[in-house]
Symmetry: C2
Subunit: 422 residues, 2 copies
Amino acid sequence: MALIVHKYGGTSMGSTERIKNVAKRVAKWARAGHQMIVVPSAMSGETNRLLGLAKELAPSKPSDAHGRELDMLASTGEQASSALLAIALQAEGMQAVSYAGWQVSVRTDNSYTKARIESIDDERVRADLDAGKVVVITGFQGVDDEGNITTLGRGGSDTSAVAIAAAMKAHECLIYTDVDGVYTTDPRVEPDARRLSTVSFEEMLEMASLGSKVLQIRSVEFAGKYKVPLRVLSSFTPWDIDINEEAKSGTLITFEEDENMEQAVVSGIAFNRDEAKISVLGVPDKPGIAYHILGAVADANIEVDVIIQNLSKDGRTDFSFTVHRNEYAKTVDLLQSKVMPSLGATEIVGDTKICKVSIVGIGMRSHVGVASKMFRVLSEEGINIQMISTSEIKTSVVIDEKYMELAVRALHKAFDLDQPAA
Amino acid sequence: MALIVHKYGGTSMGSTERIKNVAKRVAKWARAGHQMIVVPSAMSGETNRLLGLAKELAPSKPSDAHGRELDMLASTGEQASSALLAIALQAEGMQAVSYAGWQVSVRTDNSYTKARIESIDDERVRADLDAGKVVVITGFQGVDDEGNITTLGRGGSDTSAVAIAAAMKAHECLIYTDVDGVYTTDPRVEPDARRLSTVSFEEMLEMASLGSKVLQIRSVEFAGKYKVPLRVLSSFTPWDIDINEEAKSGTLITFEEDENMEQAVVSGIAFNRDEAKISVLGVPDKPGIAYHILGAVADANIEVDVIIQNLSKDGRTDFSFTVHRNEYAKTVDLLQSKVMPSLGATEIVGDTKICKVSIVGIGMRSHVGVASKMFRVLSEEGINIQMISTSEIKTSVVIDEKYMELAVRALHKAFDLDQPAA
């Protein structure tokens, strides 16, 4: 018997039929002797419907007052699905109770629409569990110190589930979703992509932020910080699948590096084509240049990813970086109007037809030559590398967008990711 | 400048276009210098949609645990519409904030799905009003002593608005709805029905409980208890109608009898055809008979309306009463199985084709002969009276259902209700 947290995404909660299946699955776990906490998302489409209504009434504006009301509004979707799940559990013959965030003191800061969880009061939940109840806690939402409802931003239910699992010291947090685990790369790009049975937190973090959108990245950070064993698994297996089989399915995200880890050097290929490259050419090479350029960009709340500064030549250098494609025009405008006049650079050039491909693996720490093998593979395919960025457990390259699939497949094969783990 | 409470029904909040109109109307009142509190219902259809989902998951069952979850679920409709209204008000250039019931401590008992308001903490609301904000408070819902969400039952937003007006000592509570006031009778039955510019609380209470479904009856009781001036008016007048004209429109429900009252003896004709008559014949006439029969009915949670006991003859009497038509079969079964064996009555007969027609008027207190005039009018129309029930300000008769329209029209004319008030 253990304390288990289940989290179900919007698709899994998408209809009363599906909610009944969730209830049956949770009841199976409870009847096997586990103490169960369930965190459901809003029914799929509901959050968009609500925010769509708000948009019809007023253009979104970054004011606290507006954000506060958006959170009041959006939080109702999760509250409704939580109550529905509790009703379905009761119909299954379970004792069940649902709580809104404020009822079990899911405390957050007051950053409306993107709040961060600060603490959770576990007393009421623990009393219910001890009384044999299944406890349904609304995800995505919390309450600030002044009693205002806050939400955690898109995908926030994952973070809620992990935070609750951490606060309750749960044995494991199971994230039921519409994929059956974490893959070596996107199977739509490489049909030989393989599901990983385990992946380390650090790798997952790099995979998530690089585009393998299985889990909200903040939930992975949270899980790492509080060492919550996290499992991603499919909610589309039949609810009456054998519980021992189910408990081992999907991908376990662990914080214990040595134990049961697949010892591949590279564990996955991540990629995204959401970025655009901007280069400022002929910048006088003197101290403070990077800050001069990127400070202005940061002040405009634009996130920068890869940054490269070329070697200086004749006292001038080229400075390149990538931003999200949606921010490309805004960033170029900003540089032209605010930065160029005082910078003395010669030109700004940009490219929106790029992509970023990364190899990720905890084994890279202790293996030399992994990056150079990546460069060799790409070179053999005739793919020109435009930018390179490295960290302890990943190496990313920016290349022409049209080579993305080719690069992913070549790297997937070269690093033996299509072979079963040793 | 005064403190005003506006309440808008589900139809008035039925689309974003309508919510914009509500916001414009409220903004007009605020700009005229009033402190504004607004209580909106859920968007029309939303509560039914939510409860429909619950019904798909589980048959409704009268357990506390089930009722608690229904309230968690249903309360989201009002919370969403409150947030949407606050957003629309902000788009109108107003400062606005919305609160769920628990955020301003709308305390209720813990009777889920039909809770009663016990207290409201006005501190936070008053601070907002003093800071120049329009305050939107969700209707229909509150919170019990243990922090569980409760709802007040169908039409509960009316009660919320009145309770808030009472707690805040508002100058007036305006209930915006899809009718433009209280009529002398239903205009669909009597085209000459006239809107009353004022009506007393007691009359309104009798009208509401007798079938003029303009306001939830509990809200009228509440208004009477706390002497909250209540106005029923149409939300379908253009939002930019002159505010002074609007402030005098609809029907004012007052608690001051003498001032500005229309001095008609009878102020309205109410009616309903929701009831059925049951007669227990040949009951031995001895003490305790009424309790013997009606006690069993009450124990089965069946509400009884009109009750008549005939004069005794040969030591036996006939006992008749009416119940809601939906409860007719259940009541007859109950009497047959549980009461008849021990009662020694000869027979049970019933009639579901009846209706109840009532004349209501505060003037009846001081005028004799009003009831007899009613009986004479019905007799002249050849309508047989089956049961009679009287109170201080109303007289009701039970008659054959097929005469209902005829009776209403004849009485409306006989009591000069088609004539403008003196």
